[in-house]
Assembly symmetry: D2
Homo-oligomer: 283 residues x 4
Amino acid sequence: MNETDIQEGDLAELIGLKHFHQIIRIKSGETIQSHIGLIKMDDLIGKPWGSMEKSHNGNTFFVLQPALSDLIKNVPRNTQILYPKDIGFLILNLAIGTGKRVIEAGTGSGALTIALANAVGDEGKIYSYEIRPEMQKVAIENLQYAGFDSRVEFKIRDIADGFDEKNVDAIFLDVPNAYDYLSQVRKSLKPGGFFGSILPTMNQVVLLLDAFKRESFVFVEVCEIFIRYYQTDADRFRPADRMVGHTGFLIFSRMVQKGSNSKSQSKFRIDEKEDDISESVGL
Amino acid sequence: MNETDIQEGDLAELIGLKHFHQIIRIKSGETIQSHIGLIKMDDLIGKPWGSMEKSHNGNTFFVLQPALSDLIKNVPRNTQILYPKDIGFLILNLAIGTGKRVIEAGTGSGALTIALANAVGDEGKIYSYEIRPEMQKVAIENLQYAGFDSRVEFKIRDIADGFDEKNVDAIFLDVPNAYDYLSQVRKSLKPGGFFGSILPTMNQVVLLLDAFKRESFVFVEVCEIFIRYYQTDADRFRPADRMVGHTGFLIFSRMVQKGSNSKSQSKFRIDEKEDDISESVGL
Amino acid sequence: MNETDIQEGDLAELIGLKHFHQIIRIKSGETIQSHIGLIKMDDLIGKPWGSMEKSHNGNTFFVLQPALSDLIKNVPRNTQILYPKDIGFLILNLAIGTGKRVIEAGTGSGALTIALANAVGDEGKIYSYEIRPEMQKVAIENLQYAGFDSRVEFKIRDIADGFDEKNVDAIFLDVPNAYDYLSQVRKSLKPGGFFGSILPTMNQVVLLLDAFKRESFVFVEVCEIFIRYYQTDADRFRPADRMVGHTGFLIFSRMVQKGSNSKSQSKFRIDEKEDDISESVGL
Amino acid sequence: MNETDIQEGDLAELIGLKHFHQIIRIKSGETIQSHIGLIKMDDLIGKPWGSMEKSHNGNTFFVLQPALSDLIKNVPRNTQILYPKDIGFLILNLAIGTGKRVIEAGTGSGALTIALANAVGDEGKIYSYEIRPEMQKVAIENLQYAGFDSRVEFKIRDIADGFDEKNVDAIFLDVPNAYDYLSQVRKSLKPGGFFGSILPTMNQVVLLLDAFKRESFVFVEVCEIFIRYYQTDADRFRPADRMVGHTGFLIFSRMVQKGSNSKSQSKFRIDEKEDDISESVGL
């Protein structure tokens, strides 16, 4: 048996021919009861990943390792979660990689927490703040399930009271009034550090833009990420009929010395972005 | 001096008030000649990140650590590169994290290579294949510059001849005729492994979808990622006038046992995706 | 009583406070039975448009003249219909205005037919071809309902057999294999005339692009129109959660002398379009 | 000679093989001097539309009737103009057709005015208000050029002073502070009439949404229209690299009895729209 085979303790994604889709952790001796029949985990252990298997009553399913994006989309949740299209981009934009120390608030159901913990590796650390204990309980279970809980410190706190850490590499706020906490951010983010937020309404974005000016957060970027899926029939290749129209506005900025001239900076950054655009299209 | 200060050997992004933007590596004793004047690196060492500095003739600039997305967009290049919006999403969708072994072809200018190397950490490895030696030379320099070259094995090879590695976790093909190499992929990707590609035209996508059917690659997803930037003036908040209209189609699939019924699977996956969409909007 | 008041024979849109929405024709003596109660038309006649009225059991509703876009979206249908976002653009792009003579095929449920008939006025004429009699029956009723039937000649015909008219100003094909009928179009479209089509899949578009080359249809444009709705709460202004992801590709071209060099023409047109884009954004 | 041939007084679009594109009015005896050579109009008169012709020094060009969308995009201008994607949709949404009486402000360069005049026919009338005389001068010339000036009454006026007409069918405001003029609109729009506006920033939209509540304008819709062009090479079919990212937010509402409950109405309308969306995708 080797790493290309299904083993005790692995996370596995079971996908049936239609309408069966489940992510489980493999435990010998256990049996899954599903609407496509019983599935004994002992029958899966030792099989190669990607195997096509059958339930006790003959229904076909595949056994796969879940992608991080699958894990994220399938976390049990009691809140709106961030989606892979947004998470993937913000991780690059906040320079999150192995060994980084990152604060997030609020924890929510832990979807972003899983992705951040994956990105910082065992050398890094995520400090995840939440004001509602019952909410964070779900997130802790989700992180344990994903196997990343050792990389996360969970805290119950009103972030108006500030964060415990100093000089972290990046702070991401997924709270409705992110604009109220920039002075708390300043005390815990390292100089020049990366700040990000996601906000659903334009009214909130405008308030955050105003707060950036007062608090010397510069090089501001506001964007939305859209994903358009296609139907995968080669003979009738076409976009999907429906798409998600909105998840949130992503806002990024850099914290510089208090009192720096932020106004000209954000304008400059827009020019930069436009230049990048022309480069990207080969002009 | 500590990690919150600028140090010898650090990568630094210098951004002026307008039209000055440069990523450099800090080396004591060196001087940058720019159109905003001379900048001595010794003047920067020891200053906190995010400092506002001045060139020899008084022009203001900020010194920041570059985000991975900034590094990627600024690599010297002689090819079209992948962009952060696409890279962030594909890393999550291919389950790339600490310790993973990943094949990519072609290397190109190394923009994706940098992001993959960042994601797998010191425990992982990227195997990067390219057919044009002069192209990969640029990429190697870019990886050295980013400080990730030790995580990458560069190879000059026509991938029609196959890859050297076995049982890698994921393979990403950024070559025009990706559909010609699925049998080579099968020999090197571990069972159930993650396959991804980016293709500019729909004709190419259709050929790849056909190849998936023949070669038992299932759970196919085809999508495009759009990014819409906003102007950041709080009193006149509005989307940017121009946007990038197209970079490429992202295609993902999973390799299962040869001969598995791929047709029903891809259809099923579409249903799944639609379900995910309804969840994501709280319906 | 004057044209600002509701009169016998008018089309009226009744909209309740929630989940009541109906377009009717006002007939004295008649009563509407709805889930918000009985509504006597005699009670509406003579009231000003925009009035807030009540059903027999006290439910509030407004009485408005329907917009053409409302009429179109509400036609009884047994087929996929074209939507206002696409119809509005194609009318301008095909130069359809008062007095024009236009062929369309197939008729479908008549949604486009209504808009075309509205645009050509009493001086113009729409020739609408359909192969399925039961389908056109619905369209004829819809046109009568909208009051535009006198401007339309309906024909049951396999358009492989050609059209009866000569030298019409524009031809629009909403049939799956539009690419099979360009020689029939040539016989009935006036020299230099406007050709348009809508096709759901890229495979179909590619076949039509090939046909254009063979048949000397030039200045080709292919586009998609998206509409993004916003939630209208001023305090929480944000895009709608969901949007329509795809209706169809719109294709436009001009018919020139047989044998003209079409290849360079379509390329040129792309440049033109790019120029238009830069103009439109004030660069 | 007949209507399928080029005649004295016709508008003609001349398109060369590359980088030549001009809309002119045919006048016998005149000669066009262009960078592709001299073109004598007498050589064009009597030729069929769509003809491929040559300039005095042998450069090829086609002669076509311009689409309304071509005319609009080519009007001489000293302001930002509305574009066909927006104009086509608003004409349907404001129920503008033969015989309608419509107020617009400001006139600007007359791009929208041309399209409105085309839509109302000889039986209708456009009342176009502008505060800057030098601006309207350009628009008047553009309308004369397009041949629609007899359908338009141009007025120089600060619309704070109100409009002269009563009970018009629709009013469209393309002025930055549209939210300041709803009481003037109420005096001139017929009961239940159609109101529309286009505004570039979200801050302006929010102010207009607030004004709607105060002034009993209901059934509010806010949307954006995007157009995505494709490159038309059948062997390499793909979206264009660049696209226009923003022209403006389109806002529509209906004027009802003063004091009607607008709040519930706009919410209801959103539900309606969502229903329409599900219908449009065949669910």
